[in-house]
Amino acid sequence: MPHVAVRDLSVTYEGKIGFKSTTVEIPDACITAVIGPSGCGKSTFLRCLNRLIDNTPGARVQGEVLIDGTNIYDPGTDLSALRKKLGLLSQRPQVLPMSIYDNVAYGPRIHGTRRRAELDDIVRKQLEVAGLWEEVHDRLHQPARQLSLGQQQRLCLARGLAVEPEVLLCDEPTASLDPVSSGHVEERLIELKSEYTIVLVTHMLRQAHRLADYVLFMYMGELVEEGPADELFSNPRDERTRDYVAGTIS
């Protein structure tokens, strides 16, 4: 049983389709790219996996999302424990209004880690994993907003990793970054994929080519095709996938 499996999942926004009934399993320990043109439902799909969609007015979810075998839409689900398992990297880096240190320590503190030495260790370790330690170790207690956008996104990565998730959900994590910063983030994701199940939403085909092991192609609210990256890219079965991969539709 993989960490993430989806059964007959569909979302409507006040009757309008977010995406249609979808059943899929996300393979563990690799990067699964969700590709497709803007508005096809990629973000909606991702937000279902950690139930952030609950916060969206008008959104109605049907079906099941199994995280480690349990349906997270069952009543009585512990949202805090669920979200601890799934880290999120959003399109624009959203640093919290606190210092660099406190951004990383925020999650662990909420989940009960209080000892200073322990927090120090976590902060250092995750900043190193996110490739940010060298750049910020001498100004940990300065406001996080002083970092560049690219650094902020890596800080968000460190913050997400600090609660020890099993899955990383990334919604176009490089869309607002310059090429160099995007490169940094992509490198991190490749390094992390052996330990985490990564779902990467992207509308950049080339990024999917570079990073993906497995690909889901969505089109107009529908999961059109899924498969291992090399197979899907070199030999798409569906006509729409073929057109999208070839760049004739977008």
């Binding site: 880290g87 999120l88 919290l96 925020y106 996080a144």
Partner: protein, 283 residues
């Protein structure tokens, strides 16, 4: 050419509006300052009235200064305790999208529009019922009612500007709504919340009508919650009402003191707000 004219026209309009507002305010402050300057001295702010004060005898308005501070500061603190939870409830994360929230918002807007004298009358009735006489406590209750709707609504508007994505970043880490409010939303909103509190405080300390029946007036310093207290707005009112020019000047001096208090408190709290929000994201 037409677009340039529009641009210049609108700029002129803005400038004129700005000048009239600032000008009117300056004029007001100048009138108060000029009329009050002669009467303003150390005795004025350090003494309570003597027996013959209102007949141009010696003494000052320390009773009203301390009374006003006691009234407005207490009322503001009490109002924060009620306004902040209400404002938080009105966020979409809690009850903000329910019909009940719509009712509460409308209700607060209504309360905001009620003239303070009505709160005074209401407070007075309430006190009669509870067997209280005009006192600090009565004044605080009435002023809290005056300040609450302003504060709650202003706070709500401030909290509403916090981007949803920022809250979601916190939720995504497993934070509860309370943790997100406490550690992310309140921090980010701090400067705006300070403004909301100041707005209400200004209304409270400057209000004469609400304290007229409820707090009463006395020449003594405030001693207990259950005794009458003086207040600056009423001091202005009573002194202006005497036939003696010297006492009328003291009315202006008292008004000036009131202005200075509001000014000092608002500068201090803004500095504090800025200090507390040095980590704020997005300017």
């Amino acid at each position: 050419m037409r677009r340039r004219l529009e641009e210049v026209g609108f700029r002129t309009l803005m400038l004129m509006a700005l000048l009239s507002v600032v000008g009117a305010l300056m004029l007001l402050i100048m009138v108060v300052a000029i009329n009050g300057a002669r009467a303003l001295n150390w005795e004025m702010v350090s003494q309570v009235p003597t027996g013959g004060y209102y007949l141009a005898g010696g003494g000052g308005v320390l009773n009203a200064i301390t009374g006003s501070l006691a009234l407005a500061v207490t009322a503001t603190v009490v109002a924060i305790l009620f306004a902040l939870p209400v404002a938080l409830f009105l966020q979409s994360d809690y009850g903000g999208r329910t019909r009940f929230a719509v009712v509460v918002r409308t209700y607060l807007d209504l309360l905001w529009g009620i003239p303070p004298i009505v709160y005074g009358a209401f407070g007075f009735t309430l006190m009669l019922y509870m067997g209280l006489r005009a006192s600090l406590l009565g004044g605080v209750i009435a002023l809290t009612f005056v300040e609450l709707p302003i504060m709650a609504r202003a706070m709500e508007e401030v909290l509403r500007t916090i981007p949803r994505a920022l809250k979601e970043a916190s939720y995504a880490l497993g934070a509860t709504r309370w943790e997100t409010m406490r550690w992310v939303v309140l921090r980010q909103a701090m400067p705006g919340l300070v403004t909301a509190v100041l707005l209400a405080f200004g209304q409270g300390i400057g209000n004469a009508a609400a304290v007229l029946f409820t707090a009463g007036y006395t020449d003594n310093l405030p001693r207990s919650l259950f005794e009458p207290v003086a207040s600056l707005p009423l001091a202005v009112f009573f002194q202006l009402g005497t036939p003696f020019p010297e006492v009328q000047e003291r009315a202006y001096a008292s008004a000036l003191i009131l202005l200075v208090i509001v000014l000092v408190i608002s500068i201090k709290s803004r500095l504090l707000g800025r200090l507390l929000s040095k980590h704020n994201v997005l300017d």
